[in-house]
Amino acid sequence: MSYLALTDADREEMLAAIGVSSVDELFEQVPEGVRLGRELDLPPALGEPELVRHIEELASRNVHTGAELSFLGAGIYDHYVPAVADVVLSRGEFLTAYTPYQPEMSQGVLQAIFEYQTVVCELTGMDVSNASGYDGSTVAADACFVAQHVTGRRKVVLAETLNPQVRQVVKTYAPGFGLEVVEVPQCGGVTNPDELRRAADEAAAVIFQQPNFLGCLEPAPELAEAAADAGALPIAHVDLMSLGVLEAPGAYGCALAIGEGQAAGNWQSYGGPHYGFLAARNDLVRRMPGRIVGETVDLDGRRAFVLTLQTREQHIRREKATSNITTNQTLLAFAGLATLAWLGPAGLREVGETCLALAQYARERIQLEPAFEAQAFKEVAFRTPLAAREVVRRARERGVHPGYALGRDYEGMDDVLLVAVTEKKTADDVDRLAAVLAEVCG
């Protein structure tokens, strides 16, 4: 198969126009010593039907969330993705455009980013959002970079209940920034505001997660206040799908709100591509990483949209840029925009209520001891009488994936299983999980 377009006749004409006799002549600038001089050792070319057959075969060897009753969550969730999200993704103009450097060619992309920024600001209670970051982990590193520059401090504090992958990414980036990373241990599944206040002394930022990785609702306003008391920027890592029922971080004093957008409009897709969101208070706008779209007018006074405040960015400011990001996750953010618009304020609240109700139902129906007392949003951690990984193995043999074994990330939690629900689950599904868990733990 080939996606090339030139015929032999085209090629001859073009070579003549260039004034060379073969394509090889064009490559004479490549020194002999660095040429490959052989064919690439790759498997033979496949036509489209064979390609589809081969890749379908690979896909068939995965057990996806439609093939077993899955309660996996832990940062990536099986919320309903409406068909309108596919409408956006299937439009070739969105799919095959790039960063809207030329606004007259890209008003549609620019307007959709502006609408996305507005939706993120509304949900998080912030003043300004960027056009997206890579995922929920890299936006945390970006947020640390913002805080470091704004405060001049060289330490960040992470709640231990913050998604472990997010913490790992911050720790990977921190040495380059010259940042020290401190963690505040969890206590009963949540973060203690007083401990957080002590740790936040001289810190640039504090990042906590609401609802947290263990499924619990944190005392988020108290955590934000504790961080602010110490002069650190309070940063909340939040789930967009929770913000119809849970308070907006801006309403309890956060300087930045960040998170993983996957739950709102993206398929699980084995971990990506998804979108990270990053929103901030107005006073931080000039330190924001990434693309930002603003409204303006054209020469005739018509409303128009354009990439703005670009002197923050790498293509202008180079080594003094607020970030190196250029390619981002716009298309995935558009799926998020379409999904959140499809839900509207009522739908988003209803999704949140269903999650709350099902989590509570799971807590009541599953005959295991909840690991933590704090209220859950859509994930509940249970103590298991045998290793949680073994529970997973045995339950999967019965067609149910019961959730995430927290011992993979937390010492002393080898016997804790994190069960996630979304609005796609029913009470019957939870009953079946309860029955399977009773059987394998019995």
Partner: protein, 497 residues
């Protein structure tokens, strides 16, 4: 050739929030006959978010209207230099959407994700062969994150060897991401100049490389579209000083199957899957930025690694010298499906892709060099840089004016004002998927614009007239930033409490 009529009117595109009416809705998520527990007042949402309230038909029309106001590769020729705007095969979308991929949770047990892991492992192997380097991580989310990952790998490598090196050298033609990544990785930046033929200036380089130098970041061919003819000497200078070479894969589309970065002497390479290996650019993303390295740097690669053990595949996080994790999970898997399919469709003939890309670029160059200035008079690789300084000098028409006028001919402008070493730069990359007819249309448009610059410069300076908007007041966007919809100005559209 198609041109839009000046003054053609485009329908208004109201904002989603302006299509909103209180009480209207599209989706109805399931509601269960279960009690909803109370959330403590301090944690409960106090004011409903002003999400749009729209019906599904209006929502579909909205996005259709926005798509209509967007120009993609599917719409027409898009020679945006250094961005490799090639055709995106539609079968990729079908494959990435297979339920076995789309609905696969990233924490699924390895034994229940063997197809996904095998695909990633095979992609790693193929990318390793293409780069000429043995070990690959797929994790980085985009090219610039690949750069940062590469610099972190250098840091870990030198720290492990007890060497204290603090400077990275970049070319004066480098993408802005290179210096920005250097800063984020905590390195100092030094710049090397380009000589009169467009190669790195070896004397300048020798003067700047010393025991404090950690490495070089270079894209080859450069952003001038020229292959560095002295690359073997460049590699020797760095390796003799104990430093490393990093290859920015932004321009890899020129040399696949012809010359491999590993064979050029590079130790660390990032690929842009969204450029060379045809991931749709999505209005700005997503991308993919895998990184390949030599054996000596392999221990430091990010975790998890995708490994093979006999016939089974695993995610392996047990790498004590790893720099850690640079993003979530094993990387943007959906991007991998597309790039894997792309490479499998070509097989060993992938070389033909680069040959066609280089032929197309040289054909355009040959037909335009007499009307625009050519700063470096050589055959180009997959892209080339012209200068509109002759039009500016003679007629007061700038590179930006040329770019805007191209829009009226139904063509997306090239990259302008980059690289910085060329004044009034027009950086043109046709890619391999364009047929000769589209190239000829571009040549005709560019030549006609050069004529228009002489005969009717106002026409060019006034362009575009055939797009939904004319040129924008970008200063106002900066001076009076409006970065979200101002609901306060439209109270009737706000949801009821």
């Amino acid at each position: 050739m198609s041109t839009h009529e000046p003054g053609q009117t485009w329908p208004d595109a109201p904002l989603l929030f302006e299509r909103s009416r209180p009480g209207r809705r599209a989706g109805r998520p399931p509601q269960l006959d279960l009690p909803v527990p109370e959330v403590a007042e301090s944690l409960r949402r106090s004011r409903p978010p002003r999400l749009p309230e729209v019906s599904e038909p209006e929502l579909v029309r909205h996005f259709t209207a926005l798509a209509d106001r967007t120009f993609g590769v599917d719409t027409g020729f898009y020679p945006l230099g250094s961005c490799t705007m090639k055709h995106n095969p539609r079968v990729h979308e079908r494959l990435a959407g297979l339920p076995g991929f789309r609905d696969l949770h990233p924490y699924q047990e390895d034994e229940a994700a063997q197809g996904a892991l095998e695909l990633m492992w095979r992609l790693q192997e193929m990318l390793a062969e293409i780069a000429g380097l043995p070990a690959v991580t797929l994790q980085p989310a985009a090219g610039s994150q690949g750069e940062l990952t590469g610099l972190m790998l250098m840091r870990a490598y030198f720290a492990d060897r007890g060497e204290d090196r603090d400077t990275i050298i970049t070319a004066d033609t480098a993408h802005g991401t290179n210096p920005a990544s250097v800063t984020m990785a905590g390195y100092k930046l030094a710049k090397v100049e380009t000589d009169a033929r467009g190669n790195l200036d070896l004397d300048d380089l020798r003067a700047k490389v010393d025991e404090r130098t950690a490495g070089l970041m270079l894209t080859n061919p450069s952003t001038l579209g020229l292959f560095d003819e002295g690359i073997e000497d460049v590699a020797r200078i760095f390796h003799d000083a104990g430093a490393l070479l990093y290859y920015d894969g932004a321009n890899l589309n020129a040399v696949v199957g012809i010359s491999r970065p590993g064979d050029m002497g590079f130790d660390i390479v990032h690929y842009n899957l969204h450029k060379t290996f045809s991931q749709p650019h999505g209005g700005g993303g997503p991308g993919g930025g895998p990184v390949a390295v030599r054996e000596t740097i392999e221990p430091y690669l990010p975790v998890p690694r995708v490994t093979r053990d006999g016939e089974s595949y695993h995610l392996d996080s047990g790498k004590p010298k790893s720099i850690g994790r640079v993003r979530g999970f094993a990387g943007p898997f959906g991007v991998f499906v597309r790039s894997y399919a792309f490479i499998r469709a070509y097989g060993p003939e992938l070389r033909e892709m680069s040959e066609a890309a280089v032929l197309n670029a040289n054909y355009l160059l040959a037909q335009l060099r007499d009307v625009y200035d050519l700063p470096y008079d050589r055959h180009c690789m997959h892209e080339f840089v012209l200068s509109a300084r002759n039009l500016k000098r003679e007629h007061g028409v700038t590179a930006l004016d040329v770019a805007k006028r191209l829009m009226d001919y139904g063509i997306h402008p090239p990259t302008v004002y980059f690289p910085l070493v060329v004044p009034e730069a027009l950086m043109i990359e046709p890619t391999e998927t364009e047929p000769k007819e589209r190239l000829d249309e571009f040549v005709a448009a560019m030549r006609r614009i050069a004529e228009e610059a002489a005969t009717d410069p106002e026409l060019v300076r006034d362009a575009p007239r055939g797009r939904p908007v004319r040129r924008l007041d970008e200063v106002r966007a900066v001076k009076q930033p409006v970065l979200r919809y101002l609901f306060e100005e439209h109270p009737a559209l706000v949801p009821a409490e």
